[in-house]
């Protein structure tokens, strides 16, 4: 199993790098390629990458990552059509939309354009949510903490390319699911080590990227923490109910 971790020198906020670390610890024979901004990605020249990962980053790093990925847009599109797995977390999601606009800091730039939404960064209106979703019926728990506000293009009111069905929390835009998915390209707004806090999803992911079905590292402890958080998320009082 080969995992490519994109731009870990800048895309390293909120513990996101531990999404790769839990895979590495769980499958010690996996090869993890760390690609720096100044390097060509391994996926550009190799067909055997099983998962490409990109995590949360600063606003400046978002622009750098967009610049670094732009030359490989067609290659990524091809790999996505072929069913290769990509996982983008936190504000890396913004990069798969059409455009990122930041009036507060005075810039905008183009995204990869795989999905028809525009991101506006509101630097004085950071938003936080608990996220409780299901992915193929599997409960997912996590948190969103972002400056990013997404708007669907044109007349769209909803989309069929969401990643997680909302149980509680806020989707990509009003009426939308959480995150986006195109074949096996997944982008989620959940920040932090979601592959640690959602071990059942991680086991599913490992199974489909060639990691087999062996237990995760410290699986028992991961499951105990997941079940505890899930029980809290299922309690309506956590969401303002009674």
């Amino acid at each position: 199993m080969i995992i490519e971790h994109l731009y870990p020198e800048v895309a390293n906020l909120y513990g996101d790098p531990y999404n790769v670390e839990i895979l590495r610890l769980s499958r010690p024979d996996a090869l993890v390629i760390e690609t720096q901004l100044a390097e060509a990605p391994a996926f550009a020249v190799r067909d055997d990458i099983d998962l490409v990962y990109l995590g949360s980053m600063t606003e400046a790093a978002q622009q750098q990552a967009a610049d670094a990925l732009e030359p490989y847009r067609e290659r990524i599109a091809l790999l996505v059509r072929l069913g290769k797995h990509f996982l983008f977390t936190g504000n890396a999601l913004d990069l798969v939309g059409e455009r990122v606009v930041n009036h507060d800091m005075g810039y905008e730039f183009a995204g990869l354009g795989f999905f028809q939404f525009v991101t506006t960064l509101r630097m004085f209106s950071r938003v936080h949510n608990r996220m409780f979703t299901t992915v193929n019926g599997l409960p997912m728990v996590g948190y969103r903490s972002t400056f990013s506000y997404h708007a669907l293009r044109g007349e769209q009111r909803s989309v069929d390319w969401g990643f997680g069905h909302i149980v509680q929390g806020q989707g990509l835009a009003a009426g939308c699911d959480e995150g986006v998915r195109l074949h096996n390209l997944i982008a989620t707004e959940i920040i932090g080590p979601l592959l640690i806090t959602n071990p059942l999803f991680t086991k599913q992911l490992l199974a489909v990227i060639g990691g087999g079905d062996a237990p995760l590292a410290h699986e028992e402890a991961l499951l105990a923490a997941y079940q505890a958080r899930l029980a809290e998320f299922r309690d309506p009082r956590r969401w303002g109910g009674h």
């Binding site: 600063t58 410290h218 991961l222 809290e232």
Partner: protein, 401 residues
């Protein structure tokens, strides 16, 4: 007239709150700003203002600076016991003003919350601004350090001279067009610690090598002391060593006590602040002897206000807990299971770990056989973990409160 009414109302409310035994560090200023929205602009300010901001160490360093100046006979205004937000600064200025609104003191030392920079520096111009560091901090408020740097840069008055941490890559590059000096422990800087121990801090300064009384031997507090030296020197203080002899680490941040035969060290580190917690864990690891550890950063009282996102654990250096001098570790609080996962991923032996959601159970859970010292690492004294756990230890060891 509106301003004077607001000023007098603030002063009167402070008197009333004190008579009622309540804290008067926030409300009087908030009231003044409500009655007169331009209050902060209109109230008289001391001629010379020092501001201290940063992710970690600002309260401690403010205390050092204030203690030193007061010991040297400087009459000053400060918010060291109060809020570092806009209303807290307004409270300090209101209470420090005459009935006419003119300032009673010529000097002020203000701790300023980084996020409040825009609101405060629009009306309060520091002569010196110390930025202790800009590091990962509460995700909800602060996002990431580069964002906070941008916030401060937007707000910074052009005349303010900066005192910056040379070892911090984020704040060291802040507002490069401003006048600045640097302090550091381990980097090239105008004010640099050369050595510390046996009660003495030796530092290089622009006027040569100097010795100061060592306030505390924790590396973080040594850095805070060097920062205080830099600020006092740039402010023109000549007897810095004599002033710093009066400075102490706030008791709420670091306490040692004996509970029966057990030496207990309790240390505050701001929950959700990875560098602060990393430093506390490392300090405990480096202390001599065989140690037990109780970690209680997420207080049950915070359960409904968002302590549940434990992303920040993954920016903490938990490898300090693999030090063989730790013979037992208890994680207590509502997020104990997440803390256990983090510790295991850092390589801590699962046989050494116990956890409990209830702080009051931690004292009974910790094994004390063969232990020389117990470290209790907890969040701000505003929450209750520390007294609950200490009460449990006293009960277990048969000591009356």
């Amino acid at each position: 007239m509106r301003f004077l009414i607001a000023l007098w109302a603030a002063k009167a409310s402070a008197v009333l709150l004190r008579l009622l035994g309540r804290n008067a560090t926030q409300f009087p200023g908030a009231l003044a700003m409500r009655l007169c929205p331009g209050f902060l602009a209109k109230v008289g300010k001391p001629a010379r203002i020092i501001a201290i901001t940063g992710s970690n160490g600002k309260t401690t360093t403010t205390n050092f600076i204030v203690a030193a100046l007061e010991a040297l006979g400087v009459r000053l205004l400060s918010n060291k016991l109060g809020s570092n937000l806009e209303a807290g600064i307004a409270t300090s200025l209101a209470l420090g003003a005459k009935l006419t609104g003119a300032p009673r003191c010529a000097v002020a030392v203000f701790e300023v919350d980084e996020r409040a920079s825009k609101l405060i520096y629009a009306h309060v111009t520091p002569e010196l601004l110390l930025i202790t560091n800009l590091t990962n901090d509460t995700i909800k408020r602060n996002a990431h350090p580069s964002y906070i740097r941008w916030i401060i840069e937007q707000a910074l008055p052009s005349s303010t001279k900066l005192v910056l941490n040379a070892a911090d890559p984020v704040s060291a590059m802040l507002a490069v067009d401003h006048k600045r000096v640097f302090f550091a422990l381990d980097a090239v800087a105008d004010y640099r610690a050369l050595s510390w121990g046996d009660g003495v801090l030796r530092a290089s300064t622009p006027t040569g090598e100097q010795e100061y009384p060592l306030i505390h031997d924790n590396r973080v507090n040594v850095a805070n002391e060097v920062a205080a030296v830099a600020v006092l020197s740039e402010f023109g203080v000549s007897e810095i060593a004599r002033g710093l002899a009066a400075a102490k680490v706030p008791g709420s941040r670091y306490q040692k006590e004996m509970i029966s035969w057990l030496s207990v060290v309790s240390m505050t580190a701001k929950s959700a602040s990875p560098p602060a917690v990393s430093t506390a864990l490392r300090y405990a690891a480096d202390a001599p002897g065989r140690k037990a550890l109780i970690v209680a950063y997420d207080d049950i009282g915070e359960f409904d206000t968002g302590c549940e996102n434990t992303c920040w654990y993954y920016d903490v250096d938990f490898t300090a807990l693999t030090d063989p001098s730790f013979v037992f570790i208890v994680f207590a609080g509502p997020r104990h299971l997440d803390a256990v996962v983090r510790a295991l991923l850092a390589g801590v032996d699962s046989a050494l770990i116990r956890s409990t959601p209830a702080e009051d159970a931690a004292a009974d859970l910790v094994k004390l056989d063969g232990v020389d010292k117990l470290f209790l690492l907890h969040d701000s004294p505003l929450v209750n973990s520390e007294p609950i756990i200490k009460a449990g230890l006293r009960r277990r060891l048969g000591v009356s409160a």
